[in-house]
């Protein structure tokens, strides 16, 4: 079975390669072929790999996903719901940039802001210092897969001292059945620059969406990324974000995983001296959803600060997986790191597997983690009931309150409103 699949993606590669961007760029072709070889050797990750112990991706093998040349018509309703006002919007349909739906009016000319296919066609040398530099193909085979297959994406280069006045929204919309949407995004934030990004994933039908973000923060840059994963309920989603932070850079990540049949998010942050990161997230699974989040924070140099707070809600037969790994290198004295993961199980068939990890090689550090798994508190439910609220509503109120704490951390009002609405819609009626 496995050999069949590996050969499907290896064999059909030459057939589809013409569709992929950057055909004439030699260094990219070499990179893609190396990636394809890495992937072909073992295929998608299996449960035998420690990092994939709880996430079985064999279901992907039942499909034959492929890149789409001409996309189906777009559901305008979806766009309307998810495109947020008062920001620059970029829309990717089936993994390809759609100028028609994007709007970038008023963006400072100094900010380089292009889709990847365009940059590869015009100035590919601009990408060379960044592509595959924040993450290597050896990370795991989804990354190698992405490198071999990516078609488009975004190249954002914010020059030093620039502060973007509005957030940038990148909306990934996948509509064609059995579509293989593969995108690669490069975010570069110059010294003292500041920006906010919102990644939104929505779609219809069954498809595979893999996204790899490579993020480079120069000294004292400040970047916030929000991820709203609200893929179709039959979709498979893999999203990896790999961040390199120079000294004093600050990075905030807000991760909301609501959609997809099987979703996996990887988030890796490398911190140099006195860099700070804060990773917050909420995963909410219903029906047979499987939502997996893997984070790794590498404190490489002294005085780094990291904060991580993830909450999970699992209902019906859903399964949540969380791994948070904090590595403090030998030199990273005075590291201050704190991680929490709280999980709420709402049904007898739901499951959560959580793996917080501390790996510490320096002695003068302050590191802690905590995990809880439990259900709604009887006393709180009783309190609400005693005030005349029926039990179902009481449970919803408490579940919403549990989740809303993560929404409240978001500072963009329109996004906050969208998240709260999504959340309310997801609660059982």
């Amino acid at each position: 079975m496995e050999t069949k699949l590996v050969s499907y993606y290896s064999d059909s590669y030459s057939e589809h390669a013409a569709l992929l961007s950057g055909q004439s760029v030699l260094w990219l072709q070499a990179l893609r072929h190396a990636a394809l070889e890495t992937f072909a050797a073992t295929g998608f990750p299996t449960l035998r790999e420690e990092e994939w112990k709880y996430t079985n991706v064999t279901a992907i093998e039942k499909h034959r996903f492929k890149p789409v040349a001409n996309s189906e018509a777009i559901n305008a309703e979806l766009l309307k719901t998810y495109l947020l006002d008062d920001m620059w919007n970029l829309v990717f349909v089936d993994g390809k940039f759609s100028a028609e739906h994007s709007q970038l009016d008023g963006l400072n000319n100094e900010v380089e802001f292009h889709n990847l296919a365009y940059v590869l066609a015009t100035q590919p040398e601009k990408l060379e210092p960044y592509l595959a530099q924040a993450v290597s193909n050896d990370e795991h085979n989804f990354v190698a897969f992405n490198t071999a297959w990516f078609n488009d994406g975004l190249f954002l280069n914010i020059p030093a001292h620039q502060v973007l006045t509005k957030p940038i929204q990148i909306l990934h919309l996948t509509v064609s059945p059995d579509c293989l949407a593969t995108s690669r995004n490069i975010f570069v934030a110059g010294k003292n620059s500041e920006a906010q990004i919102i990644e939104t994933f929505v779609g219809e039908n069954a498809y595979l969406n893999t996204v790899v973000n490579e993020v480079f923060l120069a000294e004292n840059a400040n970047l916030t990324i929000h991820k709203l994963q609200s893929e179709s309920k039959q979709a498979y989603h893999f999203g990896g974000t790999y961040v390199k932070q120079q000294p004093h850079a600050r990075f905030q990540h807000h991760n909301f995983s609501f959609g997809a049949l099987l979703a996996r998010t990887d988030l890796h942050v490398d911190l140099e001296t006195a860099a700070e990161c804060s990773l917050n997230g909420l995963y909410l699974g219903v029906k047979r959803q499987h939502i997996d989040t893997h984070t790794r924070i590498n404190h490489n140099k002294p005085h780094g600060i990291s904060r991580e707070f993830y909450k999970g809600i699992l209902d019906n037969r859903a399964r949540g997986v969380f791994q948070g790994r904090i590595v403090v290198a030998k030199d990273a004295q005075q590291t201050d790191s704190d991680m929490h993961n709280r999980n709420l199980l709402l049904s007898a068939n739901a499951e959560v597997d959580t793996k917080p990890q501390l790996e510490i090689y320096a002695d003068d550090v302050k590191c802690a983690h905590g995990v809880t798994v439990g259900q709604l508190e009887e006393k709180s439910i009783f309190y609400l009931q005693s005030r005349g609220i029926n039990i179902a509503t009481a449970r919803n109120i408490l579940t919403f309150a549990f989740a809303n704490e993560m929404v409240e951390m978001v500072s963009i009002p329109t996004l906050k409103k969208l998240l709260a609405t999504k959340l309310l819609n997801l609660l059982p009626v």
Binding site: T354, Y361, G374
Partner: protein, 483 residues
């Protein structure tokens, strides 16, 4: 800062007192392992046929397995054909009493401070001891007195001959021969160990203990311990160990199985002080142990307490399978690593029955260039309604060249379960040290005091005599490491 580190380093490098070798005439198998060696072993031990079959089955399975490498450990490859699988002191035909034990051996245990002389023990602190020397049990005290109470306490090799039914029923019923690489190897070649059976409703009249001693070189020690607590019984069992100081690494791969039936309680305490290797990480014991308890009956309880200060590499996870409703599992651990020692240790709590609860308190102390890892699993299965777990893992770093790691796994399939996990890592703060020194304590005493305080929650679970020993041991192991 740097001066403090030097002080710490000076404080560590303490010598290992149990590192002497006993000169004895021994029977030793030539090195190597194949089916013939196992047949010969079974024959030497005069075992019934079923044991040979059991061993061969385990050996055949072991041959299909690979040496595991998932732990956070750096292990030199082990050549299993370069080890002798049997070494025993030559002895007279049958030992009638302690008087017939080789005086050299008695002297050895005297030197180690292990009481093998029933009369000479202080009134009130009677402890029955099974002394295992390399591959065989050389003496077991208070056997008679225990038998009067109905308690069976004897070397497992004797139990195989005398109580084959119990062995057939319980051996490998918790840790199967296929369980893992070292358990399979152990099942194939184990030579001795202790066997305990506490009958229904009996509270064992004294503490039971086994002292393991490795003496011969180029041998491995493979011991097997089996403890069965029948309905409503209670037993407290202690385990200690030591080995001579040698430059090569020696393998110790033991299996311990505990079975707690309805309403029974087993308390299992270990003070592990195998030779840890020298200051440069040369030599020392590889301590690869599988310990597991099955709380088979309702309301049963198993409590593991361990103080791990020895061994070059420690790799063990004393676990509880909480099968019975309302059963309780506890794990209290202090693991101290110094110099080049490595430890990857923790526990597994598998909640199967309803209202089961477990507590994990783990204290890891890492000094010198050591690496200390807590690895634990808390698994709540679907039917384990109202399961409860509380886990606390604290790590203390002494010096800036060591590492402390925490790898918990939490898997919950039951919404009424309540699982909590907390972990912290820190160092002894300059403030704490200064405070103690300012009150007239030396830096070393201050560190020892702080470390003892850090470990107090675990020490209070140890039987009294052990607690004293453990504290002293901690002091010795930390000597030169204070910071």
């Amino acid at each position: 800062m740097s001066t403090t580190n030097t002080e710490i380093e000076n404080l560590i490098g303490q010598e290992y007192k149990q590192g002497f070798v006993t000169e004895l005439e021994v029977d030793t198998f030539p090195i190597g392992l194949d089916e013939d060696v196992i047949r010969k072993l079974s024959k030497v031990k005069n075992e019934p046929e079923f044991m040979l079959e059991y061993r061969l089955k385990a050996f055949r399975h072991w041959q299909t397995m690979e040496n595991p490498n998932w732990a956070q450990l750096n292990i030199e490859p082990i050549d299993y054909q370069a080890i002798s699988y049997y070494s025993a002191p030559k002895k007279k035909e049958k030992l009638g009493s302690l008087d017939e034990v080789d005086p050299e051996l008695l002297e050895t245990y005297k030197k180690l401070g292990i009481p093998l002389d029933e009369q000479k023990q202080l009134a009130g602190v009677e402890i029955a001891v099974d002394a295992v020397f390399d591959s065989v049990s050389v003496a077991t005290t208070f056997k008679g007195k225990l038998l009067d109470a109905g308690v069976i306490f004897c070397p497992i090799s004797e139990a195989i001959k005398d109580y084959p039914e119990l062995i057939k029923q319980y051996l490998s019923s918790v840790v199967t021969v296929q369980d893992n690489f070292f358990a399979a190897l152990n099942a194939a070649v184990f030579t001795d160990g202790s066997f305990v059976y506490i009958p229904k409703g009996v509270r064992c009249p004294m503490e039971l203990s086994t002292y393991f001693r490795i003496n011969a070189s180029n041998t491995g020690q493979f011991e097997r311990t089996l403890i069965i607590a029948d309905e409503g019984s209670h037993v407290s069992y202690l385990e200690g160990c030591s080995a001579p100081q040698r430059d090569e690494n020696q393998l110790h791969a033991a299996v311990v199985e505990l079975i707690a039936l309805k309403d029974s309680e087993i308390k299992y305490s270990t003070v592990q002080n195998w030779y840890p290797g020298d200051k440069n990480g040369k030599g020392g014991i590889y301590n690869f142990v599988t310990k597991r308890a099955d709380c088979r009956g309702d309301n049963s309880k198993v409590s593991w307490t361990q103080v791990e200060t020895g061994s070059a590499i420690t790799w063990k996870y004393p676990s509880c399978v909480l099968t019975g409703d309302n059963s309780v599992g506890e794990f209290y651990s202090v693991a101290l690593t110094n110099n080049y020692q490595q430890a990857d240790t923790g526990t597994k709590m598998i909640h199967i029955g309803k209202n089961t609860s477990s507590t994990i308190i783990s204290k890891g102390i890492s000094a010198g260039r050591a690496q200390n890892t807590y690895r634990g699993l808390v698994k709540v299965l679907k039917n384990a309604e109202n399961a409860r777990n509380y886990t606390q893992c604290d790590s203390l770093l002494v010096g800036d060249k060591c590492g402390a790691h925490t790898f918990p796994y939490i898997e919950v399939k039951q919404p009424t379960a309540q699982v909590e996990h907390e972990a912290t890592t820190s160092k002894i703060s300059e403030d704490q040290l200064f405070f103690c020194q300012q009150r007239g304590l030396s830096a070393e005493d201050a560190v020892s005091m702080i470390v003892n305080g850090f470990c107090k929650e675990v020490f209070k679970e140890l039987p009294m005599e052990f607690a004293v020993e453990a504290q002293a041991l901690l002091g010795i192991s930390l000597e030169g490491s204070v910071g």
